[in-house]
Assembly symmetry: C2
Homo-oligomer: 207 residues x 2
DNA sequence: GCTCTAACGGGTCTGTGGTTCCGTTAGGGG
DNA sequence: CCCCTAACGGAACCACAGACCCGTTAGAGC
């Protein structure tokens, strides 16, 4: 009678964890191959080798499952490289994002995740959290540049990192142009120059 | 027996045109209010005051209808302003995009359109065409800046315009951060400085 | 290793988005 | 102004995603 809450919270070990893992991987595959529109929880259950009832009970809706997938993806982090210069670090970041988005599977997955987030507040929150974590991981390279004197005091490190990614996502989702490495390098250069010039200094002192 | 092609092509005037107009406006409203996910052709037909059979026959699928809506939107163009300086023109552009994306209805509509494009090639092509037209409309202000000597010869005007929009769309779709006017102004400043520095010169001559 | 019950899963039912059928309305050429 | 037929529209039909029921499996505490 007195249930503790959502299914999977009282006995999260063993089988439950295996099922979650299998379903999230299946969801990732399905999103990648079918896109967000062509998604079907029964198909995901089949891919994962679990009963579809389980998927409906644990996650309820497609967007709920995508939100959980994003939370899971947010856990895993890939460490960043350090080159010693702002432009070098931003270029490394831009090329990492570029590689991810141009990879056929990963690119399709991210497109689907972003599409899912446009239609559901919880999924959107999960997506924002995922990118917030990724941006925070790279922000230190901007702060180091400030310490080296490459960028002015008060520079918004996270905004600089976002500025590097933005043109790549714009090409992927909106303009549809060729997403070659030159686009990534230009994005890094533009962000580096703008950061050096103080464009990303918080609360500009009237100018 | 020998049909000429798609419905609506042989007798495109009068009633057919009125129906198309009503359905596209209804689709716009539905996309804005329900988002791409919660879209239903029967609901659109109801809103438009036409039979749902008509909508299915003329457009077939939701994505087909969205693609047609984008083609229709691409027709209407809003003229740009000219301020006399690159930064001024880019700021005007950034604020225009900012106003569009922060308007509750327009912002929701564009989110839905972009989401629709991620899942269907025809819709994606229509979206790319729409933005290509808008970008081309603003490109002249960059070319004028080149003539004035504000930016180096060979600057890719369209890429500069895209660089202005990119951070705004990144915030709207991905980071979820506050989309205030400062973001727009920073985007314009960053693009202007990068353009001046030659970041957007085509085929950089090694350097 | 026994028990209790959280969590899984096959099978069935149902609401609704999408299709088809066929009669009705109204462009547009003669 | 009349006719022909392109295009519209109501209604019945169908398939399938998602909800529900109830028996089965396997964590976790003693």
């Amino acid at each position: 009678m007195a249930d503790g809450g959502e299914p999977g919270t009282l006995r999260p070990g063993g089988r439950t964890a295996r099922v979650r893992e299998a379903v999230l991987r299946a969801a990732e595959d399905a999103l990648t191959e079918e896109g967000f529109t062509g998604l079907d929880l029964a198909d995901i259950a089949r891919r994962a080798g679990v009963g579809k009832t389980t998927v409906y009970r644990r996650w309820g809706t497609v967007t709920g499952l995508v939100a959980d997938l994003l939370a899971d993806m947010a856990e895993q982090s890939s460490p960043r490289t350090e080159t010693g210069s702002l432009l070098g670090d931003l270029t490394a970041n831009a090329r990492l994002v570029h590689r991810t988005l141009t990879d056929p599977r990963q690119g399709a997955l991210f497109k689907a995740l972003i599409a899912a987030a446009t239609g559901d507040a919880r999924t959107a929150a999960a997506l924002h959290r995922f990118y917030d974590i990724r941006v925070r991981e790279w922000a230190p390279c901007v702060r180091q540049a400030v310490e080296r004197g490459e960028a002015p005091e008060g520079t918004d490190a996270q905004e600089v990192i976002r500025a590097v990614s933005a043109p790549l996502y714009y090409h992927l989702l909106i303009s549809g142009g060729r997403l070659d490495e030159a686009v990534a390098d230009r994005a890094a250069q533009a962000a580096a120059i703008a950061a050096r010039s103080g464009v990303y200094v918080r609360q500009p002192a009237g100018g």
